[in-house]
């Protein structure tokens, strides 16, 4: 997969990164072309704000409901498939079936959470080349995807003005 064209600045701390983000916003760059990468979550800063909340908890609850249904069906269908009397208990004993149902409910919730995480973050994605290893050293990457030729210089100025220690560009010119 070819490296997409990006022009980005590497900021040494969250405060300067926030200034860089604000500068790009003021320049009118649309939010879905802004690229941010960091080695920590940096909750509370403008550059790490999400545009919409995730329905993950609700999906987990739905996954739990599915798991619970499957658990109950497992208990019921397997015991009724080859009914064997034990200890005077009914074939479909309520309390034990409840326990199995409960465990598979929780398993459903957990598995749904994992799947939702991987799907919404589009991981695993070993092919994406859009990355700079300096992010691991603590730098925060704020950049613009597919900048037009005309705006390149201005973006670079804004990023440097906000405090970027480096400004890099990648990708092939269209």
């Amino acid at each position: 997969m070819p490296i997409p064209p990006v022009i980005y600045g590497l900021f040494p701390d969250p405060e300067s990164a926030e200034r860089g983000m604000n500068a790009l916003n003021r320049a009118g760059v649309s939010p879905n072309r802004i690229v941010v990468m960091s080695s920590e979550p940096f909750d509370g800063y403008s550059f790490s704000k999400m545009d919409h909340a995730t329905p993950m908890p609700w999906l987990a609850a739905c996954g739990g409901a599915v798991g619970g249904t499957l658990g109950f069906l497992l208990a019921r269908l397997t015991q009724e498939a080859y009914p064997i009397v034990t200890g005077g208990m009914p074939i479909l004993a309520a309390w034990p079936s409840g326990i199995v149902t409960y465990e598979l409910t929780m398993l459903g919730a957990v598995l749904t959470t994992i799947v939702t995480l991987l799907v919404t973050t589009k991981l695993p994605n070993w092919k994406s080349k859009l990355y700079d290893p300096e992010v691991s050293d603590g730098k925060i990457l704020i950049g613009v995807l597919e900048p037009s030729d005309a705006s390149r210089a201005e973006i670079e100025n804004r990023l440097r003005g906000a405090g970027a220690v480096k400004v890099k560009a990648t990708g092939v010119r269209p």
Partner: protein, 449 residues
Amino acid sequence: MAAKTPEQITDDLLRPMSGLSAPYVLSAAFLAGVVVAAGCAFFYQVYAGLGVSGLRTPVFWGFYITDFVFWIGLSHAGTLISAILRLANATWRRPVTRCAEVITVFALSIGATFPIIHLGRPWLAFWLFPYPSERGIWPNIRSPLLWDFFAINTYLISSVTFLLLPMLPDFALIRDRATGWKKKIYGALALGWTGTPKQWHRLETAMHVMAIAVIPVAVSVHSIVSWDFAMAPVPMWHSTIFAPYFVAGAIFSGIAALILAMALLRKFLHLEEYLLPVHFENLGKLLLVMSLLWFYFVFAERLTSWYGNESSEMAVFWTTQHGSYSPLFWLMVFCNFLIPFPILAIKKFRTITGTAIASFTVVVGMWLERFLIIVPSLSHKYLTYSWGTYRPTWVEITITAGTFCAMALLYMIFSKIVPIISIWELKAGLHLKPQAVRLVVRENEAGAD
């Protein structure tokens, strides 16, 4: 404590992963040797029959089930503590969470081998799995052993997830610094993590959901393990107190194991600047609470039995209190309460060394507690003619020792492959918004004194 730059923190926390010193290799070799011996003992048992163990009529469960309950209980350290501390937003949790989660995954894996080790025909253990067999028969859902199967598997999957998900950013960190085959492996493990806000947000939400989900799972797991005993009409087993008693005991032994692991890691990996006295203080206070809770449960159970004066229960009661099992019983009380209580209650003694000593005695005491729940009751059932005894053989002792060495060995190997302290979480704790940062710095400074 001088403030560390992020680069210094990263270096410090990655340093334990590099290099193999002579003491490390020698200890790993010794531990591996014991594990291999345990494996040989197990295969000998499969070849010759369970008669090579000390089991007999009427004590059909002994060391193996003691170990099973002990290790499953110990596994309540990590995930439960990590989950509860995350949900309570305790800032001091950050260096502690991965140590804890690792204990859970390894202890649970070890514990889960015992239902196979103790079987008469272990090659048929797969019959516990519900699959459409050629005989048309399915496993018996009414059996507590089936509940064990579902609960332990659910907990194992949840704990492994809980451990692996927050490792993604650290794998990315190692990938970026590594070269050659190491870069390929860690690159694969990191799943292409780049650290966009979306990835961070989803990861943190997933951890939050998992933390909420894993607590009821952990509670259910040890309740279900306790019901392996409580569902049988055996004197002193058939009690409603078993589920909460076991869960409390599990958390108790889990916190002790965590403190012990952290003390050893601090010493051997030179993590003195990250695992601070304040962490041991706080965990020590939790251990104190659990020690009191344990005492409360034991007192409540024994008071009820003694007052009820039912003859078969009293036979078991007296054999642990005054009879042949009393040395072990009083040693257990000593280890679980009489020693830890003063150490943990008096601030002067609640140091790293103090809490580590208290934790060691608790681990010993909790193993004894599992043994004393199982064997005295089985050897004194309703019909006095059938009372019996139990003594383990070298096979059971070797396998038990093998599990302790396996735990240590797995931990040693893990600390070489993955940073034992979560680097991004630790750094994230230092980068909270200004008001929060001042609080964290003050707490860390207070702890460093």
